[in-house]
């Protein structure tokens, strides 16, 4: 079974500063994908960034990057130059590469961006 844990229910960051959201996971799968999703107050969940577990290089998407530590089963999200539009719920998720393709989500971190 897979589990995903987000230990920070809420985080705050000053506009233009950098913030890191934490995520740990547990899986017996040898290959899997990891994701960060963003859910703004309008509620449509969108993908922020994804990481293939077999790739050692950390994924980056503009101001968003991950720190993927496979041995530690850690997958944190770093948001640089935070903007007011980054305020949202952020969910970490995992999905096996084979078998059933269900996505397992963490409990979420609410990010507040202070002007």
């Amino acid at each position: 079974a897979q589990t995903v844990t987000q230990s920070q229910p809420e985080m705050s960051v000053q506009e233009a500063e950098t913030v890191t959201l934490s995520c740990t996971y547990d899986t017996s799968e040898s290959d899997y994908y990891l994701f960060w999703y963003k859910q703004p107050p309008s509620r449509q969940m969108i993908l922020v960034i994804r990481q293939e577990a077999y790739k050692q290089q950390n994924a980056t998407e503009n101001r968003f990057s991950v720190n993927f530590q496979k041995a530690a089963k850690s997958f944190s999200l770093k948001i640089s130059d935070s903007q007011l539009g980054d305020a949202a719920m952020y969910f970490c998720a995992a999905r096996a590469l084979s078998g059933t393709y269900k996505y397992i989500f963490g409990t979420g971190t609410r990010l507040k961006v202070l002007a």
Partner: protein, 114 residues
């Protein structure tokens, strides 16, 4: 753009009613999912379907059933709604296979059972 559309944004139903939540996707995705979102609990999988007429239970299937008669449509059914089923319900879809792994979500249905 992939579009996942849920039939209602807000619903209010009475205890004991049979409730249908509908979800339609327009990108020919094989996989479809129903999640329930509650504060502090994140997204919990209710049911998912990997093909027409195929379904598997997720982590919290009790009190729910699903129907997938056509590839693009996945319905969640609350056989007899109860107040503890008041929640946000999210539908998602994704492609089969190891590529294009992203799940796409609908806008959510906020269900209140009174």
């Amino acid at each position: 753009d992939v579009k996942v559309t849920q039939s209602s944004r807000y619903l209010v139903k009475r205890t004991g009613e049979k409730v249908f939540l509908e979800c339609v996707q327009d990108m020919d995705h094989e996989n479809m999912f129903w999640y329930r979102q509650d504060p502090g609990l994140g997204l919990r999988l209710i049911y998912f379907s990997y093909d027409v007429k195929m379904k598997e239970k997720g982590d919290i299937p009790e009190g729910y059933s699903v129907s997938r008669e056509k590839k693009e449509r996945f319905s969640l059914i609350l056989e007899s709604a109860s107040t503890n089923q008041t929640s946000m319900y999210l539908c998602a879809s994704s492609l089969e296979g190891v590529m294009n792994t992203e799940a796409f979500f609908g806008q959510g249905t906020r269900l209140t059972v009174v």
